[in-house]
């Protein structure tokens, strides 16, 4: 009975109902799309940053993360390799040895990072080989061949085929120096990374740096990247307490937090917009309810209890909110779905992304039904709340007052 009355009332006041519905729907679309956009762009940025080089899981010596010196290396890489090979959840893993050295070209010296990698495994672990710009990627049997960042090669004024020398210290703190021939040049798009890193095959690296069976860290690629954290815990228990196993959200804590911060700013902006919409909905329901003050007075005069009037009005506003949220949710979801498969491309913004260490310019939205439902629920509650004040206010009138209200 009440439900039928409520429905009839909504359809009877088409204009005010449709404006309220429109506002609620717009609000829902805005929220659904913004969350999809924020989540999507953040995931993309993090995923990119993780996959370019740092990897989903890093295994280091226990103290290495706090104090990255040669005293805290992994000194028994072979054992770890055996342990990791037994784990079925791991898709790929590989060792790396990073060291800071001074590179020297014909007439220029530049500080940078020289890293020994397993070229074949690294192909699956990072985007190094995919970022090849010129020449060739490293091979397993390579000796004094180096794979060097584009900006670094430019700073050294060297090209593929040229020779580059380095001075650094070996794993035993001895003086290390050698000459490499540039085999390939890569460009990941991360300016700092491209301007300071170079790679050689680890077998040869181990010889010149006295790093046989040593590694600064292992990189692990899980079969399911979403379960990196759980896998990190499993690995940690299997290889023992001398090592530290960190998943990407520990390794890149700054970036993860930065994304959270960005969301906070986004939600603050949305919040401000929503407060205004909240007021507008309140004003409209205020107007709508007061336009019907006589009707309500008469209802009360013929014996409807205040409680029934309250239920009726609340039912009306909830119904209207529900329908609008549904419409908004479907539209917002559709937009999010579309941009999930057709990422938004930012041309000309690469400069800014690069400054933040992000080598992406196409951002898909995240299409997550649960998040959409959450957003719809938020808007529903918000819009019903905003009609509460007018409804309560009108219910305080006495029937006679209401009928004679001008």
């Amino acid at each position: 009975m009440l439900l039928r009355l409520a429905l009839r009332n909504i359809t009877a006041h088409k204009k005010s109902s449709s404006i309220t519905a429109l506002l609620i729907a717009i609000m829902t679309v805005l929220l659904v799309f913004s969350s999809a956009w924020m989540d999507g762009s953040h995931n993309t940025m993090i995923q990119n940053s993780v996959e370019i080089y740092p990897g989903y899981i890093q295994i280091t010596g226990k103290e290495f993360r706090n104090n990255p010196s040669y005293d805290h290396l992994i000194f028994d890489a072979a054992t770890i390799e055996l342990e990791l090979a037994e784990n079925n959840d791991i898709a790929w893993f590989g060792p790396r040895f990073e060291s800071f050295v001074l590179f020297a070209g014909e007439d220029k010296a530049v500080g940078g990072m020289l890293t020994g990698i397993d070229p074949e495994k690294e192909e699956h672990l990072s985007r190094l080989s995919a970022s090849l710009e010129k020449g060739e990627y490293l091979g397993a049997g390579d000796t004094n061949q180096i794979y060097i960042g584009y900006e670094l090669s430019r700073r050294l004024k060297l090209d593929v085929g040229n020779e580059v020398a380095f001075i650094g210290s070996g794993a035993d703190y001895s003086f290390a120096a050698d000459k490499f021939k540039i085999k390939g040049i890569f460009q990941t798009g991360l300016f700092d990374f491209d301007a300071s890193t170079a790679f050689v095959a680890k077998d040869y690296f181990d010889q010149i740096m006295a790093a046989e069976n040593y590694a600064t860290h292992f990189i692990v690629l899980p079969k399911q990247p979403g379960q990196a954290e759980e896998l990190a815990v499993t690995i940690a228990s299997s290889i023992g307490p001398e090592y530290q196993v960190a998943s990407w959200n520990q390794v890149m804590a700054g970036l993860v937090k930065a994304m959270k911060l960005d969301s906070v700013f986004g939600y603050i902006t949305l919040g401000i917009i929503f407060i205004v919409i909240f007021f507008v909905i309140m004003i409209y329901s205020f107007l709508a309810v007061f336009a019907r003050i006589r009707e309500i007075g008469i209802l009360r005069a013929i014996g409807t209890t205040p409680k029934q009037v309250l239920t009726l009005l609340l039912l009306e506003s909830s119904l209207l909110a529900f329908i609008s949220v549904l419409i908004g949710g479907v539209i917002g979801g559709a937009v999010a779905y579309y941009f999930h498969f057709h990422p938004i491309v930012f041309a000309g913004m690469e400069e800014q992304f690069k400054q933040y260490g992000l080598a992406v310019s196409a951002m898909p939205t995240a299409f997550m039904p649960l998040v959409i439902l959450r957003d719809m629920a938020v808007i529903f509650v918000l819009s019903v709340l905003s009609t509460l004040y007018p409804i309560l206010k009108i219910n305080r009138f006495r029937p006679v007052e209401a009928i004679h209200h001008v």
Binding site: D71, G112, K257, I268, V276
Partner: protein, 407 residues
Amino acid sequence: MFRLSGKIAWASLTRRGARSILVVLMISVSLWGLLFMEGISDGMIEQMVSNAIRSDSGHLSLFAEGYHLDPDLSRQVTDVEAIDDFLENDKRVLSYVKRIKQDGLVATAHYSRGTKIYGIEPEEEKQHGGLDGYLFRGKFDFGPLQRGAIIGFKLADKLQVRIGSKIILSAQDRYMEVSSVSLKVTGILKTNNMAIDENAVFVASKKARQLLAVDKDVSQIAVILHDEGQAPRLQSDLQQKFPNLEILRWDELYPALLQSRMMMENFNLITSLLIFCIAALGIFGVMLVSVLERLREFGIMMAIGTRFRQIGNIILVESFFLGFFGFGLGALIGGGTLYYFKIYGLDLSIFSDAFNEFGMDAVTHAIIRPSYFFTALAAVIMATFLSVLIPLWLLRKAKPIETISKI
């Protein structure tokens, strides 16, 4: 005449007190939100820009030709005296400093890293950009023997050094020979200019000259002006006088900052427009209802000789009252909020990791510009004016006089 319209408008507004207050509240809340957003985001960007200007680029930077793309000791500013002469006598210049820069390697016993060496005069830097204000630990001083080094906090972190730690700085000198010097860390800087925090080692100008075997030449002359707006003019004047120098403004040296600034402005513009459209919709609804429910009243007024224009005036004044009170209240609380955050700053230290990542200050001091209030006022007036147009048109079509005879 206007006094009468005003009186009538005021009377109708107070008759629907709750409704009017709701509208005023809505306008003021939207204004408050806008002011807050604008002031904080401008504050954030300006702080980043100011960090870059103070710690590195100045409003203008003078380099030898080609240095910016390929920083090399072979490309140095040589006619220092003539430039000194020009800058000292130019009234637009507030201050300037000369720096010598070179890429090198900084090493501790355990660890080494690529770095950018800055040879500076600490006293001049204090006067110029207040570089000492960024001091995070230690002292802004190289010690009596000039054997100190001041380094960026991220670099210090990566090298695991503290105040008093020994570091070894190596670089190629002017003759392509690698030379080294051992220094003690006397200070750690946190400028939130990532280029500095991650890479810079500041040493005494004299020490840098010894290390690099450079006599008088400088790599960079950073100039700060009294008024940033004069930078392009001074840039072209300098370029004319010294055609073989490369003279770059801060926004040419830090294009990403300019992009952030523009992006923020666009974002704010879109949000403001959105908010004002919604707010205008709110005013519109109220004005529409208030016109339609008073058809009889207007009919009677017109029957006793009031002109339609006068009635139009009453309605306009009504909506302007709403707009002005909304604006007044919004400007008051918005301005107050901004003033609070201007003095005390918005402290988001819980996200300090994130701010470090982005190279931003964790505490943002809001900016208050008169233009915020003027544009907001203009927008409110526009919104109130536009929102009565349709109600007025409907009123004219409804022929109020005829409504008297209806029940």
